[in-house]
């Protein structure tokens, strides 16, 4: 039952937020998100202690005539990490927003909580139809959020994003249906899908692979499917961008691990080199694009593409020592934390200065020391400096890529390593442009962090340093199969 609450609490909380109206909305949604975090924490505790395992899965018949069950389970380290990230992110974002509230709060927070419910569902679903359902449902509130709050060009940009992902997921649905038809006793359960998918001949797997992978690649996004992303990140309101970039893109990676590699194993190996190539191109291309951006949101958007590209490559590396996949798991969590920190900082800059243009910033370090400390530390984690959380995952991923079964592993690793250097170039450039240099008339009046922002950022920096010094906390989690 416990994990059903992970979906129900934000779902009901979101609906209630619509009904409660403006006044109550903020307090109510902070409460709901903290409650969800507490449930996620309890679930994590149960998982790590291996007790109360019955609470960590939920099964009930849904549409019996077609073999679909409402089956949720928190059974592997990846879903634990993603649930933890989703649980942690929403209260952090909500609390950091205290100073600058959106218009029509109840709508905003209601939609945010509904999105959280959908995301939780994606990470928990053990039934293909249920997974598809949550996959789409998570998108709808985000579509409304991005279209209602954000930059002047937000409506067409968000629509592009929506159509992109919608096309991908429809094709995915057809692929799921085809696999479903190969299950012996028609069933949508994950186990049935794995055995049915494995038994397919390689020729079938090789085209089914693309039907599924394109949907996931659009979500991540991997190189040629990424064109929606910088625009969408730039135009959405920053709290929504956090959800998009910290969790929604992880849906794509998560889906690859859960619903692609085990189900279409031969197809995945067959196309491994192509996928790796796309990922690596993405890493370098996005890093180069990030270097020339003048808009801070676009810069972080491209940086995110680069990071996701490396994670996807690591997942597809098929390294002998599993380091690649484990590194990707760890990095999926850490990147979520880091990028959330960055976006919160960006929204602070944006709200105080009223601009996203890097050329109009500068000198903030002189008057806002707390802000600068947070910016530098979180950015360093984004570069994956040793002793920050980013380093562990990145090191493991590159190691995994190097031990890949791919024929071109050397080339891929070297070029991907280049991406690490480039990330230092653009991230340090960003710090310099935002925090150092001369104060100008816009930045002169910049106020330092308020208490609520400082607390949230301290939490984030705490996680960054803790996991940087003691990565075992995550390693032990992902080590258990």
């Amino acid at each position: 039952m416990l994990i059903l609450l992970l979906i129900l609490v934000p779902f009901i909380g979101g609906l209630a937020s619509f009904l409660f109206g403006e006044k109550m909305a903020y307090a109510w949604s902070v409460f709901t998100s903290l409650l969800t975090l507490a449930i996620a924490g309890t679930a994590y505790y149960f998982y790590s202690q291996a007790t109360h395992t019955t609470d960590l899965s939920f099964d009930c018949p849904w549409i019996e005539s077609i073999g679909a069950t409402f089956s949720l389970s928190m059974s592997d380290s990846l879903s634990v990490l993603m649930i933890g990230l989703t649980g942690l992110l929403f209260p952090c974002v909500f609390i950091s927003m205290q100073n600058k509230q959106p218009e029509r709060k109840h709508v905003f927070y209601g939609l945010m909580l509904l999105a959280q419910a959908g995301l939780m569902g994606v990470f928990l679903a053990k039934d293909a139809l249920l997974f598809y359902l949550f996959w789409e449902v998570a998108l709808i509130p985000v579509y409304f959020l991005s279209s209602m709050y954000g930059g002047p060009n937000r409506i067409p940009v968000t629509f592009k994003f929506f159509v992109y992902t919608f096309v991908g997921s429809l094709v995915m649905l057809v692929a799921l249906l085809i696999i479903y038809n190969h299950t012996p006793v028609h069933s949508f359960s994950w186990d049935a899908f794995v055995s049915a998918g494995k038994s397919l001949p390689e020729a079938d797997q090789s085209w089914l692979f693309w039907m599924l992978f394109i949907a996931f690649a659009i979500k991540m996004p991997v190189f040629p499917f990424h064109t929606w992303q910088p625009d969408a990140y730039e135009q959405s309101a920053t709290p929504v961008t956090v959800v998009l970039s910290a969790i929604m893109v992880k849906m794509g990676l998560f889906a690859v691990v859960r619903w692609l590699l085990p189900i279409i194993p031969l197809g995945s190996i067959h196309w491994m080199n192509v996928v790796l190539l796309l990922c690596i191109i993405g890493v370098v291309y996005a890093s180069c694009m990030a270097m020339v951006q003048t808009n801070i949101k676009r810069l972080i958007a491209y940086s995110s593409i680069a990071h996701i590209g490396l994670m996807c490559a690591a997942i597809f590396s098929y390294s002998n020592n599993l380091l690649g996949v484990q590194g990707a798991y760890i990095q999926m969590f850490n990147h979520g934390i880091n990028i959330m920190g960055l976006w919160i900082l960006v929204s602070i800059v944006e709200n105080r200065l009223g601009t996203q243009d890097l050329r109009e910033m500068g000198g903030i370090a002189k008057i806002a020391p707390r802000f600068t400390i947070a910016l530098v530390l979180i950015s360093l984690a984004n570069i994956a400096l040793p002793l920050t959380n980013g380093f562990v995952g990145e090191f493991m991923m590159l190691n995994g890529l190097f031990n890949s079964i791919s024929t071109y592993r050397m080339v891929f690793t070297i070029v991907a390593g280049l991406g690490v250097i480039l990330s230092a170039v653009y991230t340090l450039g960003m710090i310099q442009k935002v925090a150092y240099g001369e104060l100008n008339e816009k930045t002169a009046s910049m106020k330092d962090l308020t208490m609520n922002e400082w607390i949230i950022l301290l939490v984030i920096m705490g996680i960054i340093l803790f996991l940087g010094f003691y990565p075992n906390a995550l390693m032990l989690l992902v080590d258990t199969p």
């Binding site: 919608f166 096309v167 085809i178």
Partner: protein
Amino acid sequence: MNAIVLSGIWGVVMMFAGLFLKSSKQIQWTAILGIIALLVVSILDYQAHSVQAQTYFGMMTIDVYTSWFSILITACCAMYLFIFHKDIAAVGKNEAEYFALIFFVMCGVYLLASYSNLLILFLGIEILSIPQYILAGSDKENIKSNEASLKYFLMGAFSTGLLLMGMTLIYGATGSFDITSEKFVGQFAQLSSMSSLSFVGILLLLISFGFKVSAAPLHLWTPDVYDGSPTAFTPFMATIVKVSVFVAFIRLFHFSFGNVSGAWQIAIASMIVLTLIIGNVTAVYQQSLKRMMAYSSIAQAGFMLFSIFAVNSTLAYKGILLYSVVYSLASIGVFAVIIKMKDYTYDGFNGLAKKQPILAFTATVCLLSLVGIPLTGGFFAKYFVLSAVVEQGKYIWIVVFAVLMAAISAYYYFRVIRSMYFKTGDAEMHTEPTTWDKTFLIINAMIILLLGVLPSLVFG
């Protein structure tokens, strides 16, 4: 069976109600009373037939499926009357006759769901069509309404001619109108032994049905008729009438012509492809919402055709039930909002969400359902008909094509949502919605959402 009788009788009652009842309110309530009675009777019918099928005079066979469909379609019609009764009465002076015609159409609907003889099929189609020609032209002063009526009548007469010709040829080949008779079944047992007369007959029937359900390339009447007819009647024609023809369609083509599917499946496939392309792509270019919904109804017919295409699949056979209900309710829900607006263009809807949040919300649910987003009934409706085709294993390409078309449909449906929620404007209303309207719109939306979670309510 009782539903057929009652719908006919109530049609006559409604005509007399126009004579004896003076106030429009009373007439409307008589109609609502009638549809509730019809609903009760069809539920009783269902209980009577749920154990075993019963044949009447060798003409009609009423089984569980038929009576279940009758309940569903009556419920949809009830929802239509609940929401639209005031608008129907406001179309012109002869309000009682409009309701009478609707009840006559319902009589045709029940015949179409239960025929086991081609003559009853013909009778059903005619009873269904003729009242519609009148309803389409009921706004007598409006030239567009007149055009709609004439166009519908001429094209309808033409297609009826083809229907009769097809039946005649099939009669020539089999020597029987009774689709359950041995001669009939024997003729269509396998493709190799089928006579060429039957082949032409089947194709003529296919064309005639294609016309009635507005499948391309026989769809050309649809936009003008749906656009020109009074807005109160368009949802009735586009939903309840259309899905009933689909049930008649599937009945004949699955059970009688199922074994000779090689003769017609390719024709249906090309119809599907054309219908989806023309319906969806043309809808994108419409500026008026009413016309967009007309093309959308063509596009949705393309999806429903999949259930005909997937021969002998129980999924398709049951899926069409769910599709009928969900599509009808969703279209009714959208039209209910359109009719309240002064300006039918997209710009006329700008800012509706601020002005009428409930209307905007219910319309959004209906539109999402028409797109086929999960958690709305529309998803499972599309899911079942497409899944029936995937189940056959061979025609994956057409399914992929269909889902891409569904993605195009997202463009024009979401455009309405964009107007309502994200654009600013004052969304002028033609009539203000009453609490009654809002209540039923919310019930309608809730049913759609409920079917999105538990499709087995209709499907089982």
